[in-house]
Amino acid sequence: MITITEQKPLDEIMQCLGKCKRVYIIGCGTCATMLHTGGKSEVLEMKNKLEADGKKVTGWMMIPTACDKLTGDALKINARKVKAANAILVMSCAFGVQTVSLYADKSIYPALNTLCMAKEKTPGCLTEICMQCGNCVLGQTAGICPMTQCSKGLLNGPCGGTKEDKCEQEPEHDCAWILIYDRLKKLGELDKLKEMAMSVDYAKMKRPRTFKVGEGLK
């Protein structure tokens, strides 16, 4: 599983940093490195861009996995350079940004937008596979999630917008329900398509979702 991120436009980052003259940059060695959104070369590139725009970069580091507890230790080790900055620019997903903010008593700004969690289907091509809806129907849909794979999240079959077995929103995207149909047919389970799917319980998605081990969702 990979957390998909994209870099925010430089204008937006500069606007967020505003009057902060001195900036410390953190990159992440896991997903953001794989996606070339917050790896070492992107961090160095960002450093150059900030400096070209008149900022002073007090330092930078790559944390192997920014969402890990070790982020706290990494910040301690680099405390002098971090302290010298007015703000920390984090080039990781929101998990990493929030972890950094737990351990650093400093203004934190994300350089990336976090889009989804995805799986690499073919080399270099990642697809969102689960939106954590809390109403898993994969048993009825041959292991293909209609909540994420169908652009409308439809549970009772496709809309009328299937064109040449693709989604009308994105002609390169297979219609989820065609994939489900084909796989169920192969499994001899087409009857599953006739089951009426009731509405999703969105109370399972009320935020923030907090989970206690042994007690479940709170």
């Binding site: 409308k152 009772n156 496709p158 065609i178 799917a197 509405s199």
Partner: protein, 291 residues
């Protein structure tokens, strides 16, 4: 006679589509209502068709009713969650609107506010089930209603799906819609009588009235655009050429639409004309079709 009575009596019905405009000027709506009154049995009012922001279906249905035209409220799941959908249904009934066409709705990303949050809290099948529950006197979580509606729910089907999977999935969904209360169907635009006849043969056993969708062609370009962009619509090359060669495009568009109606009227229970802003030609199409 109401749409429901006509369909239940087995009569051939004619419906047409009215699209609200962007803005508060209702002059055109009233003009279209005048034009269609007495010529069609009921008129659908689209619900921000193609995800383009316009006046709402509910208000325009009310205006049509005031003008003496029976409305069919098109209701999509695109913009409203289950509270708003149920509430709007109760509001519609309070205004005397009885026909509802339940649709999933287009994606906001394809409209003029692509940044909008898509809702799709329910889908068309679930919406039909909600309408059924309201008719029974309960909301969707079994709370009793004070005063219950008596909606006549309809649904849509796209008979022109190309692949086996897409076609079969349409039929499976159609059966689900019938099971959850759909009492009539209106179809996506049809241009191939042969393909539509095959579809009708497959759904004959469902025993439900089907109104075939007709979109009058304005030009060869429009036909080509639909072939390229609109799912399940296929205008044969022969009709495209006819439009391209026509000197009087409007007359040819009317003639093609009327011929389709003549060819299809014996194998279905009605016709639904979607003129997409060209409603003034609807009486002409009906004249030539002999309706």
């Amino acid at each position: 006679m109401s749409l429901q009575s006509l369909l239940e009596a087995g009569k051939f019905v004619v419906t047409a589509e009215v699209g609200p405009l962007k803005g508060t000027d209702t002059t055109e709506i009233v003009e279209v209502a005048e034009l269609l009154r007495g010529r069609v049995d009921a008129a659908n009012v689209t619900d921000q068709q193609s995800s383009v922001m316009r006046m709402g279906s509910l208000a325009v249905c009310h205006l049509l009713k005031e003008s003496g035209l029976e409305p069919i409220l098109q209701m999509t799941c695109r913009d409203r969650n289950r509270l708003a959908l149920q509430s709007d249904l109760l509001s519609a009934y309070a205004l005397g609107i009885e026909n509802v066409l339940a649709l999933t709705g287009d994606l906001p990303s394809l409209g003029d506010h692509p940044q909008a949050k898509p809702v799709f809290d329910l889908d068309s099948v679930q919406l039909l089930w909600v309408i059924k529950r309201l008719n029974e006197g309960y909301d969707m979580v079994d709370n009793e209603l004070k005063g219950k509606p008596n909606f006549f729910p309809g649904a849509v089907v796209n008979p022109g799906m190309g692949s086996e999977a897409a076609f079969e999935l349409q039929l499976i969904k159609m059966e689900k819609k019938i099971a959850t209360g759909a009492r009539f169907f209106q179809t996506q635009a049809v241009y191939e009588p042969g393909a539509f006849a095959k579809f009708m043969k497959r759904v004959k056993g469902f025993g439900i009235p089907i109104l075939v969708g007709i979109i009058p062609l304005k030009s060869a370009g429009m036909a080509r655009y639909m072939n390229k962009n609109v799912a399940g619509v296929f205008v044969p090359e022969e009709l495209i050429n006819k439009m391209a060669e026509a000197e009087d495009k409007a007359a040819t568009g009317i003639e093609i639409a009327a011929n389709l109606i003549k060819e299809l009227r014996d194998i279905c229970q009605g016709v639904h004309i979607m003129a997409i802003g060209w409603e003034k030609i609807v009486p002409g199409v009906l004249d030539v079709a002999g309706l």
